[in-house]
Amino acid sequence: MSFLNANTYYIAAFGLIFIGLYIVMAKKNLVKVVIGLSFVDSGINLLLISIGYIKGGTAPIFSRPGISPLKMVDPIPQALVLTAIVIGVAVLALALSLVVKLYQQYGTLDIRKIRGLKW
C-alpha cells in the first residue's frame, strides 16, 4: 500500500501509456488507434509532471507576495507539457482528418482491410 501511495502518479502515467500502446498494437479500428495515441500522450504528460513534483510544493506562481521560491514545484516539466499537449492535439487533428478521408476511400475503418500497400 505504501508503494501504491508513493507511486500513484507513476502508476497512473504508465498505466495510461501501456493501455494506449496496447490499443495501438491490438485494436483494429482506426479511431480506436487514435484514441490509444491520445492516451499515450496523456500518460507521458502525466509522467513529466509527476517527475517535476515536489512533496508539499506550491504552484510556481508568485501570485501573492511571500511565497517561498524553495517550496515551488519544478516549472520546466510544466512548460514542456504545455508544448506536448499542443503537439498531441495537432497530431490528433491530422490523424482524424486522415481517418475521415480514408473512410471515404475505403468505406471501412478496419486496419486489417486497409492494406493496399504491402510487400
Binding site: L21, V24, M25, A26, I111, R112, I114, G116, W119
Partner: protein, 616 residues
C-alpha cells in the same frame, strides 16, 4: 607527353566525340578513328619508358600512374585493337541507332583499359576497372533482346569481382597503409603465407571473373555473342586480358616470384592449383565450343579455352612458361579479334551467324575467307603463325616441368580447337551457297583494313617471334625470371631450340614435294555440285547440307559430359536468392498493428539484452 595527358586525351576525346556526334555523324566517325590512332601513336612512342608520377589526391591518397615494359605491352595491345575495332565499326555500325553513345562507350572502355594498365596504385586501378566494367555493361546491353540478360549477368558477376577486389585491396591497406603497388611490393616479403594466400585468392576471384577462368566464366559466352561484333573483338581480344594483367600484377609484381613459391608446396601450392583450374578451363570449354551452332558463341567459348592456355603458362611460373603465356595473350588478342571481325563481316553482309544456315560464302567473300583461314590457323597453332610459337612454349614448359597431365590436357585442347576451327571455316565458307546469299558482296574496305593488319601481325609474329619475345623477356627479367635466350627467329631452351627458319624451310620443302606429287598424278575432273546421277528423278536445287552435323558421333560421345554445370549452379543460386528476397519483403504485411509491434520488438530486444543477459 606524359601519361596523364594520354588519359586526358583518351577520356576527353571520348566525350568530345559524343558531343560532335550531335553535330555531324561524319565528323564524329573521323574524330573517333583519329583519336584512337593518336593514342596508338603516343603509346608506341612510350616504348622503353619507365617511371611513376602522382597525378591527383583522392581522399588523402596519392593516385599515381606508372609505366614500365609490362604495362607498355598491354597498352600497345589495347591501343592497337582499339583503333582497329573503331575502324571496323565505321561500316559495321552504320545506320544503327544511338551511335554517339556507342562510340562514347567504346572510347571510354578503351581509355579505361589504358588507365588500368598504367595505374600505379590499387585505387586508380580499381577506379578504371569499374569504369571499364560499367562501360562494358552498357555496350553489351546495346543490342537489346537477349543481350539484356547477358549484360545483367556480366555486371552482377563483375560487381562480385570488384567486391572481392575491394576486400583484398583494403586488407593490404590495413597491413601496409599504402595503396601504391610498388610500395606494397617492397614491403610484402615479410608477410605470412596464409595472409598472402587470402589476398591472392580474393584477387584471383576478381581477375578470374574478368578473365573467365572456370568456374567463374559463365558471363562470357552470353556477353561475347550478344555484343556488337567490333566490341566482341575488343572484349575477347583485350578486355578479358585485363584479368590476365591483374593476375600478373597480383602474382608477380605485388607478391613477387619469391614469396609466391612459398605458398604451399607440391600439388597444393597456389600456382599449381591455378594451373589445374587453367587446365580445366582449356578442356571443358573447348568441347562446349565444338557443340555450338552460333559462330560467335563458338568463338566465345574458344576464348575461354584460349585464356586457359594463357593462365596455364603464367601460373606455372617458369620463365619459359611466363613467356609462353604472355606471348599467347598477344596472339590470342590478334587472332581472336581477327576471327570476331571476320564473323562480323559475314554477319554484316548476310545478316546471320548461324552455322547451320550459312555456307559457300567463299565464292562471294574470298578475302574474308582468307582472313578467317589465317585466324583459324593461328588459333589452332599452325606453324608459321604466332599461335604455334606460343603454344610451343607452353608445351615445352609443361614437359620440362614434368607435368604430363597438364601437357596432355593442353594437347587435347588443341585437338578440340582444330575441330571447331574447321567447323567454323567449313560451315560458313565451304559447301553450297544457299539461294538467299547469292547477292552477298565482299566486306567493305573499313572492315578489310583492320583484318589485314591483324593477319599481318599473325604471320609476322609467327615468322619472327623474336620481336615480341624480346619485349616479353625484358618484362620477365624485371619480374625476377631467368633471362631467356631469345633471337629474332625464335628461342632456345634446355632441351632444344625453336627456330622458325628451320620450320619455314621444312614447310617450304614439303609444300614443294606435295605440289610435285599432285602435278605428277593425273588431273582430276571438276564437276558441278548438282551434276550427279539421280536416276532420272528430280534433282533438288536446295542445299545438300551434309556438313551441318558432321561431328555427330563426337557429339554423341561428349554431350553427356560437357554440360556447363557451373552456369546451371549459378542460375539456381540466383533463383534461390530471388526467392529469398521475395520472401523477405513479405515481412511488410501492410498491417498497422504489426508495424507498431516491430517497433516495440526492437525496444523489447534492447531491454532484454541489457536486463536479461547483461550484455552491456
Amino acid at each position: 607527353m606524359s601519361l596523364e595527358m594520354l588519359l586526358v586525351i583518351a577520356f576527353g576525346g571520348a566525350f568530345l566525340t559524343y558531343l560532335l556526334g550531335k553535330l555531324s555523324p561524319v565528323l564524329r566517325d573521323i574524330l573517333a578513328v583519329l583519336l584512337t590512332l593518336v593514342i596508338l601513336a603516343i603509346v608506341a612512342l612510350f616504348y622503353g619508358r619507365t617511371g611513376e608520377s602522382s597525378f591527383m589526391n583522392f581522399l588523402g591518397f596519392n593516385l599515381s600512374l606508372r609505366i614500365n615494359t609490362l604495362s607498355w605491352l598491354f597498352a600497345i595491345a589495347v591501343a592497337t585493337l582499339g583503333s582497329l575495332s573503331t575502324i571496323f565499326s565505321l561500316s559495321y555500325m552504320k545506320g544503327k541507332e544511338r551511335l554517339d553513345f556507342y562510340y562514347l562507350m567504346m572510347l571510354i572502355v578503351n581509355a579505361s583499359m589504358l588507365g588500368i594498365v598504367f595505374s600505379g596504385d590499387l585505387i586508380s586501378f580499381y577506379v578504371f576497372w569499374e569504369i571499364m566494367s560499367w562501360g562494358t555493361f552498357l555496350l553489351i546491353s546495346y543490342n537489346r533482346g537477349p543481350a539484356l540478360a547477358a549484360g545483367l549477368k556480366y555486371i552482377v558477376m563483375s560487381i562480385v569481382g570488384s567486391t572481392a577486389y575491394l576486400l583484398g585491396m583494403f586488407s593490404l591497406y590495413a597491413s601496409y597503409s599504402t595503396f601504391n603497388i610498388a610500395d606494397i611490393a617492397s614491403r610484402i616479403s615479410t608477410a605470412s603465407p596464409g595472409y598472402l594466400l587470402s589476398v591472392l585468392v580474393l584477387f584471383s576471384i576478381t581477375f578470374g571473373i574478368k578473365n573467365a577462368l572456370v568456374p567463374l566464366h559463365t558471363w562470357l559466352p552470353d556477353a561475347h555473342s550478344e555484343a556488337p561484333s567490333p566490341f566482341s573483338a575488343v572484349l575477347s581480344g583485350i578486355l578479358i586480358k585485363m584479368g590476365t594483367y591483374g593476375f600478373v600484377i597480383s602474382m608477380y609484381v605485388l607478391v613477387g616470384i619469391k614469396a609466391l613459391s612459398h605458398l604451399g608446396h607440391g600439388i597444393l601450392s597456389f600456382h599449381f592449383m591455378l594451373a589445374i583450374l587453367a587446365a580445366v578451363t582449356i578442356l571443358v570449354p573447348t568441347f562446349i565450343a565444338l557443340m555450338q551452332d552460333d559462330a560467335k558463341r563458338v568463338l566465345a567459348w574458344s576464348s575461354i579455352a584460349q585464356v586457359g592456355y594463357i593462365i596455364l603458362g603464367i601460373a606455372i611460373g617458369t620463365s619459359l612458361g611466363f613467356a609462353g603465356g604472355m606471348f599467347h595473350f598477344l596472339n590470342h588478342a590478334s587472332f581472336k579479334a581477327l576471327l570476331f571481325m571476320a564473323i562480323g563481316a559475314v554477319e554484316y553482309r548476310t545478316g546471320t551467324r548461324d552455322l547451320n544456315s550459312l555456307g559457300g560464302i567463299i565464292k562471294k567473300m574470298p578475302f574474308t575467307f582468307m582472313m578467317t583461314l589465317i585466324g583459324a590457323l593461328g588459333l589452332i597453332g599452325f606453324p608459321l603463325t604466332n599461335g604455334f610459337v606460343s603454344k610451343w612454349l607452353i608445351y615445352k614448359t609443361l614437359i620440362l616441368g614434368k607435368d604430363p597431365f597438364l601437357a596432355f590436357v593442353a594437347l587435347f585442347g588443341t585437338w578440340g580447337t582444330i575441330l571447331y576451327a574447321y567447323k567454323i571455316l567449313h560451315n560458313i565458307f565451304m559447301g553450297q551457297l544457299p539461294e538467299e546469299y547469292k547477292g552477298v558482296e565482299e566486306a567493305p574496305f573499313s572492315m578489310k583494313f583492320p583484318m589485314v593488319i591483324l593477319s599481318i601481325i599473325i604471320i609476322l609474329f609467327g615468322i619472327l617471334p623474336g620481336i615480341p619475345l624480346k619485349v616479353i623477356n625484358v618484362i620477365g627479367v624485371s619480374l625476377g625470371f631467368k633471362s631467356l635466350a631469345v633471337n629474332i627467329w625464335g628461342i632456345a631452351s634446355d632441351t632444344g631450340a625453336l627456330n622458325t627458319i628451320n620450320i619455314f624451310s621444312a614447310i617450304l620443302v614439303s609444300w614443294i614435294v606435295v605440289w610435285l606429287i599432285f602435278k605428277a598424278a593425273p588431273t582430276s575432273l571438276r564437276v558441278e555440285q548438282d551434276n550427279n546421277y539421280a536416276a532420272g528423278s528430280y534433282v533438288p536445287t536446295g542445299r545438300y547440307l551434309y556438313t551441318a552435323n558432321f561431328y555427330a558421333p563426337v557429339y554423341r560421345i561428349i554431350k553427356p559430359y560437357v554440360i556447363d554445370v557451373v552456369d546451371i549452379f549459378y542460375m539456381a543460386l540466383a533463383g534461390a536468392v530471388r526467392t529469398l528476397c521475395d520472401w523477405t519483403r513479405r515481412m511488410y504485411t501492410g498491417e498497422l498493428g504489426s508495424y507498431v509491434m516491430y517497433i516495440m520488438l526492437f525496444l523489447a530486444v534492447l531491454i532484454t539484452m541489457r536486463l536479461g543477459f547483461n550484455i552491456w
